[in-house]
């Protein structure tokens, strides 16, 4: 069973909840799909068993010993990456999209493409099973391909180790890396906050999950920061037939746990928060929908 935890906007407590889900009881494979800001490895300090290079995009560079300064590439580049700087054709590394067109049309064959090979995928063992995570090199396009690589590895490890549950900690946003994280999973859990912006983001995120026809759950984290908003979010979800898997109270212990590099289940297993996590997880994993009226 694959459970993906996503949040639209970051900062809703998504990673803390993923970490808690990963340390409930049985062994899991934990996959950190937030390759642009991987975090869970800090908490779980997994062993370094495997490292794989992820080939990102390409960037064009000019060999000035061959360039005749004809400017043909300037006309062809649609990303505005090539211009005359102090009278010389030059390519902006930031603006270059890596399409290779300039290199193909350059009559003097002065432009070559450089592969970016700084991104990595790591896999290892952590205290409650196996862990996989990706780290995208800065500036790279987050195309979701590294996420796919992380997910493939997670599945392989689950199979090899006979582990049933894969927990995917997803990236923020609603773009390609999120789509790669949730495609084909058994459950998507959207973690939201009781704020106007939270609801706004939630709507966009649900639009994505419903596009892919995925079993979607919502967790309202820190709901007691604004009860009214929390109710509004609940009503909204009810209206769409989306089940609320949990309403968690604000708890400073979650941050204390993080500072100790522990999940809340490890740090304060007796806390309210831990109980709330456990029941949310049971509901999701067992498909038990307990209707509660608040």
């Amino acid at each position: 069973m694959e459970i993906a935890i996503i949040s639209g906007k970051g900062g809703t407590g998504k990673s803390s909840i993923s970490a808690a889900f990963a340390t409930l009881s049985g062994k899991v494979v934990l996959a950190d799909c937030d390759v642009d800001a991987a975090n869970l490895f800090i908490m779980f300090n997994p062993t370094h068993e495997e490292e794989q290079v992820y080939m990102g995009g390409q960037k064009a560079v000019i060999d000035y010993s061959m360039c005749t300064n004809c400017g043909l590439c300037v006309d062809y580049c649609r990303f505005g990456a090539i211009s005359f700087l102090n009278g010389r054709v030059s390519i902006s590394e930031i603006l270059c999209d890596g399409c290779k067109l300039c290199s193909r049309i350059c009559p003097s064959e002065a432009i070559t493409m450089i592969d970016s090979d700084k991104s990595r995928m790591y896999a290892g063992t952590f205290r409650n099973g196996k862990m996989v995570y990706g780290r995208l090199a800065p500036g790279e396009e987050n195309s979701g391909k590294l996420v796919n690589m992380v997910r493939d590895k997670a599945k392989k490890m689950a199979k090899a180790e006979n582990i049933d549950t894969i927990i995917l900690d997803g990236p923020p946003g609603i773009g390609c890396p999120v789509i790669s994280t949730i495609t084909g999973v058994d459950h998507v859990v959207i973690v939201t906050e009781p704020t106007i912006s939270g609801l706004h983001d939630l709507k966009r995120t649900i639009e994505i999950t419903s596009k892919f026809n995925l079993k979607t759950w919502v967790i309202i984290n820190k709901y007691d920061l604004n009860n009214e908003m929390a109710n509004e979010i609940e009503l909204y979800c009810n209206g769409l037939g989306i089940s609320i898997a949990g309403k968690f109270t604000f708890n400073a212990q979650v941050v204390e746990a993080m500072v100790q590099c522990k999940s809340i289940m490890e740090y304060a297993p007796e806390s309210d928060f831990a109980t709330q996590i456990q029941s949310a997880y049971n509901m999701i994993a067992n498909g038990k929908i307990i209707s509660k009226r608040n």
Binding site: K9, G173, T195, S197, R204, K211, V255
Partner: protein, 294 residues
């Protein structure tokens, strides 16, 4: 007092949800009250919500589109040249059974396939990526929102258009997308100064490090605002000292601030003691980094 100036300040954070939006919107409001010529650009195109905090009238809405090839099969000889030229694998071709298809989600609109085709079989159409919405908040103060269409794979084009729309005059605050990948780079690349918002936790520190390292390679100067100070540990302060990075401001964890935010309200309106710190911070930045023509 604020002296009239031209400056672009990006408000960014490695991880989502550290309080970027909180900071950008409140800073914008404080400066706007000083009658500055000011623009706030919401560059988090996947989940834009700066607008939630202001009442304004829509001035205009621009469509951001991208070119995508259309293949006329009657002219196509299935030579495969377009497929070879496409560096994003966006053209699927099976010559023996005469199948050719454009996978629009993968296409970056670079135009290479059109250049490649010798049989005049490729034309192009526009597809919608999102909108750039401009709102007038008060005299001389505008909010520009980059809003990616749900289901689009990358926010970068919409972000670039929104930044372009902001122009070059007055104070421009760029509420940046999370992470350090392409959308972040495109945003901070135009900034004169970068404010990084973080929280004092191991996760916050790890992401801050990555942002700082990335900004260094881009030769950008940054300062740090610590949000939710008091929840967490001291490691981040040590890091700032060691790296000689300015600590611009600390915002304590405060249920009132969180609650104003949750209602879509600006906390400086109610907690006016915060106005001065924002003004002083801004002045100290402008003194050193303002009026460059970046």
């Amino acid at each position: 007092m604020i002296k009239p100036s031209n400056i672009k300040i990006a408000v960014a954070s490695g991880k989502g949800g550290t309080g970027k939006t909180l900071l950008s919107t409140n800073l914008f409001y404080v400066l706007q009250q000083q009658n500055c010529n000011i623009t706030l650009v919401d560059c988090d195109a996947e989940e834009p919500n700066d607008r939630v905090f202001f009442k304004g009238t829509m001035l205009k809405s621009l469509e951001v589109t991208q070119k995508v090839p259309v293949i006329e099969e009657s002219k196509c000889t299935f030579c495969g040249k377009c497929h070879e030229y496409c560096n994003y694998n966006a053209i699927f071709i099976l010559p023996p059974v005469k199948i050719i298809k454009v996978i629009e989600d993968l296409c970056h609109g670079c135009g290479a396939c059109s250049v490649a085709c010798h049989y005049d079989a490729i034309s192009e159409k526009d597809v919608l990526l999102g909108n750039v919405n401009c709102f007038s908040i008060a005299q001389q103060s505008t909010v520009i929102e980059a809003n990616m269409k749900v289901g689009v794979y990358s926010p970068v084009s919409v972000i670039k258009e929104a930044i372009k729309e902001a122009g070059n005059s007055g104070i421009i605050i760029l509420d940046s997308p999370p992470g350090t990948s392409c959308p972040f780079i495109q945003t901070v690349a135009v900034a004169d100064y970068v404010i990084l918002v973080t929280e004092p936790t191991p996760f916050g520190l790890s992401d801050l490090r990555q942002s700082v390292e990335t900004l260094k390679t881009m030769n950008k100067t940054c300062g740090v605002i610590i949000n939710r100070a008091g929840l967490g540990d001291n490691a981040i302060y040590e890091y700032l000292k060691q790296e000689h990075i300015a600590l611009l401001m600390e915002i304590p964890f405060d249920k009132d601030i969180a609650s104003y935010y949750s209602k879509g309200e600006l906390f400086v309106k109610y907690k006016t003691e915060w106005e001065q710190p924002f003004i002083s911070m801004f002045n100290s930045i402008v003194e050193k980094y303002g009026d460059s023509n970046n």
